[in-house]
Point group: C2
């Protein structure tokens, strides 16, 4: 039998509920923005990571780590993106097992349009309701939270 549960007090409870609600609602809004460009959130993130990588290309495993997807899930999603012509696969010169995923020009074009919508959404729903100070404090807190769970994923600076 586990020890008695240390419940959250009222203030904590309320903060936690706000977290759940905000995350849910924001996700929904951003999803709506991306769907205007025929992209899901996971797909969008893949395009973003590729676009920021040297040569607009990444090994499948690196990409999977970046977007926090399982390799299997990434395979399926990249299949869809490849079908749409937004990325392509080529085998990795250095490692015979490896596969590189490359962002195509067409993919880059779609990404630019989608990124515009997406950033506007983030601004409207997350930045605008807060002061700059509040937003940065939120970011700093969540950085601590994330680093506590996955120190390796920390972004330098």
């Amino acid at each position: 039998m586990p020890p008695a549960t240390r419940w959250l007090d009222d203030e904590e409870q309320q903060a936690w509920r706000s977290y759940l609600r905000a995350v849910r609602l924001l996700d929904e809004q951003l999803r709506r923005g991306l769907e205007q460009h025929q992209l899901s959130h996971p797909e969008y993130e893949i395009l973003v990571w590729l676009s920021e990588s040297p040569g607009r290309a990444l090994r499948m495993s690196e990409l999977a780590q970046g977007v926090l997807n399982s390799r299997s899930r990434l395979t399926h999603t990249v299949n869809r993106l490849e079908g749409a012509g937004w990325v392509l696969r080529r085998s990795c010169p250095a490692d015979g097992r490896g596969v590189e995923c490359v962002l195509t020009d067409s993919g880059y074009t779609v990404l630019q349009a989608a990124a515009h919508t997406h950033v506007e959404g983030v601004r409207r729903y997350l930045l605008d309701p807060l002061t700059r100070k509040e937003f940065l404090a939120l970011g700093a807190s969540l950085a601590k939270v994330a680093d506590a769970m996955d120190p390796s994923g920390r972004r330098t600076t």
Copy 2:
């Protein structure tokens, strides 16, 4: 053609990435906690809402609103919960179309165990890395964000 994209500046960008990373990682940790009790996050939330409702029962539609699910999704999820014996359905006395979903004793027992694990997870991964002040500030900010998107869902007090 849309107007030029107003990108996030470096600090904002970093805060946004921290948000994404923290939310993803936290979700994953809490999912692992719940799966020890054979519950998914959506299922868990349904049990929580039922347990807090008068008579441990709610109309399907009210429940759907509470957990921010579509009615269809709720139907499927409640099917699973009913199969496990944790909730049951009974037709609504007042409205012939309506269905009430009731938490069973067995469901309540499962919920208590799951809630223990879940709260410990929230503490460990979200509260503990932050000071109380930081956590409450985070909650307050996210409450503003949520209310901006869905004023109706606001919790009084």
